[in-house]
């Protein structure tokens, strides 16, 4: 009886080790993309660090569901998307301290180009959250419609159509938000000299 229990314990440890190895491989392979995904959507480095950490905590808890290969990245984008949405609704969980990650993320934010609000930002704010996210997944994450469909949980065809519409709406918003300098106006006396 004792031997049987011991055998189970050994098997459990082997399983745990296998799962840790598999998780670490996915973690190392996807970390840059998930960190990038979150940083591009989060204005605060502290929040970004929290969301990256929580995304991977959830992935570890659900390691048995973690897909193999490139699909793992899409699955993790989906998890990060939901964590981000919960975070924006004020639902926050913190199961790791990740002080070093927070410090690193602060440095990365400090190094990023300073933002300036102009007609492009105005256009990006004018379109809906759904349109902006579709364009972001396509342009920032460089996902094709099939991959976006996997992240959002809808059909590839629906993504193609929505992406097409989002591009049109963004183009229209850019037009509507054209900078004041582009508007023709009469020259002042000094300018016309």
């Amino acid at each position: 009886m004792i031997e049987t229990n011991q055998q189970h314990t050994d098997e459990d440890e082997v399983d745990e080790t296998d799962e840790q190895s598999r998780f670490e491989a996915v973690y190392r392979r996807t970390y840059e993309q998930i960190l990038g995904y979150v940083m591009r959507r989060c204005s605060s480095p502290e929040d970004a660090a929290d969301i990256v950490a929580e995304t991977y905590v959830i992935a570890w808890r659900r390691v048995s569901e973690l897909p193999q290969g490139d699909t793992a990245k899409l699955w993790l984008y989906g998890v990060a998307r939901r964590v981000l949405a919960n975070h924006r609704r004020g639902e926050r969980r913190r199961e790791t301290g990740h002080a070093e990650l927070t410090a690193e993320t602060r440095r990365r934010y400090a190094m990023a180009a300073p933002s300036r609000y102009d007609h492009v930002d105005q256009a990006m704010n004018a379109i809906s959250d759904d349109d902006r996210e579709l364009l972001a997944l396509s342009v920032w994450e460089e996902l094709d419609p099939g991959q976006i469909a996997a992240v959002l949980g809808c059909s590839r065809n629906a993504v193609r159509i929505r992406l097409h519409r989002a591009r049109k709406r963004f183009a229209r918003a850019l037009k509507d938000a054209r900078p004041a300098a582009f508007h023709p106006r009469p020259l002042t006396n000094e300018e016309s000299r």
Binding site: Q20, F23, E24, Y27, R28, Y31, E32, L35, G36, M39, R40, V52, A53, Y56, V57, W60, R61, R62, V63, S64, R82, E95, T96, G97, H98, E100, L101, A103, E104, T105, R108, Y109, A112, A113, S115, V120, D121, M124, S138, V139, W140, E141, L152, G153, C154, S155, N157, A158, R160, I161, H164, R165, R167, F170, A171, R172, L174, K175, R178, F182
Partner: protein, 289 residues
């Protein structure tokens, strides 16, 4: 610069800027902390019930008598989540502060859908069915609302697992304030213009497998006519020194130079294609463009 490039340049960082970050001290420390987090069994499904919705097949048979009246269950019976309504066309779950709609009819009766929204208290939502390509496999969903706090999103949940025969699913804020409009695709009738354009070259569409973007107008017209389809034109007038464009629709063929380039082909209806054309150098846009 294309509008995609304009969008891309607004990224705080690109993945290439983060090269090497997976092996920093911060990444290592987080991984160590994660392995210390106690793992739990598979997550508990939030919904309290999993009730297969009636299939369309059943409804077409004698069971229609039983299922003719949709049933409404008081949300209190299911606490914060669970099924609150089901009919031939739609099953509705309450999930926290949202309702989840599972659409099971590809060409639903708008009155039935409207009734479903009313049954769960979303009286202000006007349901509109819009014609889309019959070859489109999934219904199109659109949403307009005056309430800035309202949300409608395609759900990432397992639509078909939750409800048998589910075609699409979406979440809507339960505590919706003010009027809103939901648009859902229905198969267009023969000759009816599609409300949602669809790339004519994608699988299942009239010109599947062809490449139209990049051809001259003359070349594209020849390919379209080989498919026994009619051609209409739209001109794309560039904005912002090449960033973005404004479309001029219903342009007569006499104003389109055969040598101009085609950007893309979309299905106008089941018998006609809209060629989106980029006017060549020196072309003069009409007043207002």
């Amino acid at each position: 610069m294309s509008k995609d490039q304009v969008f891309r340049e607004r990224a705080r960082v690109l993945d290439t800027d983060l090269s090497g970050s997976a092996t920093t001290a911060g990444a290592d420390a987080l991984l160590t902390e994660i392995f210390q987090v106690e793992r739990t069994p598979a997550p508990v499904v939030r919904r309290t019930r999993r009730v297969p919705a009636p299939s369309r097949l059943l409804l077409g048979l004698a069971a229609s008598v039983v299922l003719a009246g949709a049933f409404v269950v008081g949300p209190s019976l299911f606490k914060e989540s669970g099924q609150v309504y089901a009919s031939q066309a739609v099953t509705i779950d309450r999930d926290g502060d949202e309702y989840v709609f599972y659409i099971t009819d590809g060409d639903p009766d708008p009155a039935e859908l409207q009734k479903a929204f009313q049954k769960v208290g979303l009286d202000n939502v006007k349901v509109e069915l819009i014609p889309v390509s019959p070859r489109q496999r999934e219904p199109v969903v659109g949403w307009e609302a005056s309430d800035p706090g309202s949300r409608m999103s395609s759900t990432t949940s397992d639509c078909k697992v939750r409800v048998e025969g589910c075609l699409t699913a979406f979440n809507v804020t339960a505590d919706l304030k003010g009027p809103a409009k939901l648009q859902l695709g229905r198969p267009a009738k023969p000759g009816e213009k599609y409300a949602y354009p669809i790339d004519a070259t994608v699988s299942g569409e009239a010109m599947a497998g062809t490449t139209i973007g990049g051809l001259t107008v003359a070349e594209a017209v020849r390919v379209v006519r080989e498919h026994d389809l009619k051609v209409t034109y739209q001109l794309r007038w560039p904005l912002h020194e090449g960033v973005g464009y404004r479309a001029e629709e219903q342009v007569p063929a006499s104003r389109v130079d055969p040598g101009w380039k085609v950007a893309e082909a979309e299905s106008y209806n089941d018998g006609a294609i809209v060629l989106s054309v980029e006017p060549g150098p020196g072309a003069t846009p009409p007043p207002g463009y």
